[in-house]
Assembly symmetry: C2
Homo-oligomer: 303 residues x 2
């Protein structure tokens, strides 16, 4: 079952010629979740070939422009393309007024509903759930209320060996029993040990998105052991003091969080426009946390 | 004296992979005026190498998103880059609230002033004037209040033949007299006929920006004889009825306006995303008005 993240933008506040502001798509089993929506996100979505109308849930971390200024344009495009389905928006409650006032100014009556889910910034909260996936907030330490998002799979039943399922001509209810680990008895009295039919048990996979934030150990317990951590690294250590005053992290900060949270892989992003090359970020983080990668726009990363 | 327009975006409402929403820079004698500011405009400004802080006047035609959604991002960037100078904004009065609410949500106190000049949409009005240039509105026929902009030079004194100015060792006040067509008498009693010193008389140049609008003959008298007309051509004639219901023009409409207004050159833009090629627009317009060109992004056009 596919679970991957596609980076649409990994730049920070001021635009760099080669980097877009924050946005990314989480694809879990061909359901597409948009995290943040900086200016130009709809162009980036188009470039990576994702169909606009497949996006039903949008998560906005906070109301700095580089994380949401592409949203009204995207909503307008969804409308012009004839969307009818509800769009779920997980965001600060000020965003509703920002959207409403702009729809009114352009005399636009949307053909679909925006269902708002306003975030609380006090503690980690479950904000989305279906039968495969949960999304929880991660409270971050930024200049204005801000939270990241943890995408966590629900436990999945194991896969069975197809050839044996066919050999025994198992019925759906028998298959389910076996997946749940129950021994079954066939019509001829033969007993089937479930362990022999199990092809693969599935680990629970987790993806954590943490941007924007100062170095913040409070998030470690929530992101513990996740498969992939996207953590902001706006600066490198020579600008540590600037990172603190602007409520951002250095590459070293990100790596230390990754190390302490024992994540499997760290993906660095949200780079300041002052850095043409992110080689410095890479070296700085990799010294502390081996499994580090630099986010590249339009590239997908398996969770 | 330079007078040119650089197209930053010539697409319309929904994004096309290869076209940006409306924005362009008018450069008059190294003063830079921004017209419209669709999403992604700041990235386009950066691409064409114009310094952000050189822009002091921004003209917004109307409040459909594809004409202004890049503005808050641009203002934020100007702030982050340390701007101190006033920024003049010519726009619908609803735009102030749209900007204010977003600055408040991001807890941003700008280090510079935005001076608002609210537009009236009843009749053509002078909205900007300096010693070289005037800007007047052009009332357009669109679904919401909308106006284009006419950039018109003030009469300029002629240039003189440098070699003769040096030969006669003319003083500044004598040069000015000659430029105004007055005969002067040198210390030795010699009379100088101003006509003999004039190198070149300057025509008054005009640039008209007309997007978005239905076919509208009311604008002809205002844009009469202008050197360059940028006119929207969202559709071609096979979608004429759609052009009418959505308050847009076809390429033929634009060409007829250009022809009746006897402009020197027509530049077509604001193409619907449905057109991968604008060859159809070109052929349709050129049949009616010979001096037609298709707008190309990041290309500059002399007025």
């Amino acid at each position: 079952m596919r679970f991957e993240v596609t980076i649409l933008g990994c730049g920070s506040a001021t635009p760099a010629s080669k980097r877009n502001p924050s946005a990314q798509i989480v694809n879990h089993s061909e359901r597409f979740f948009l995290i943040d929506c900086g200016e130009g996100t709809q162009m980036q979505i188009r470039k990576c070939g994702i169909r606009f109308q497949k996006i039903n849930h949008i998560f906005i971390s906070h109301l700095h422009g580089d994380h949401y200024l592409g949203l009204v344009g995207l909503i307008s495009t969804l409308h012009l393309l004839g969307r009818k389905n509800d769009l779920h928006l997980y965001c600060h409650n000020d965003l509703k007024q920002i959207i409403d006032i702009q729809l009114k100014a352009s005399d636009t009556q949307l053909n679909f509903e925006i269902i708002y889910h306003f975030l609380s910034y006090q503690k980690s909260t479950l904000i989305y759930e279906d039968n495969q996936l949960m999304v929880k907030t991660i409270v971050l330490d930024h200049r204005i209320p801000c939270c990241g998002f943890l995408f966590e799979e629900k436990p999945r039943l194991p896969s069975l060996k197809k050839t044996l399922v066919e050999y025994y001509q198992l019925q759906p209810w028998q298959i389910l029993d076996i997946k749940y680990g129950k021994e079954i008895i066939l019509d001829d009295g033969q007993k089937i040990n479930p362990a022999k039919l199990i092809e693969k048990k599935h680990d629970i996979r987790k993806y954590a998105y943490c941007s924007d934030t100062r170095y913040n150990e409070n998030i470690i317990s929530i992101i513990k052991g996740c498969n992939l951590l996207y953590h902001e690294a706006t600066f490198t250590e020579e600008l540590k003091s600037r990172a603190i005053t602007t409520f951002h992290s250095t590459a070293k900060d990100a790596a230390e969080i990754a190390s302490k949270a024992e994540v499997k892989k760290l993906l660095l992003g949200h780079f300041s426009a002052r850095y043409n090359s992110t080689e410095g970020h890479y070296v700085e983080a990799k010294t502390i946390f081996e499994s580090t990668e630099i986010a590249v726009e339009l590239k997908s990363y398996e969770v």
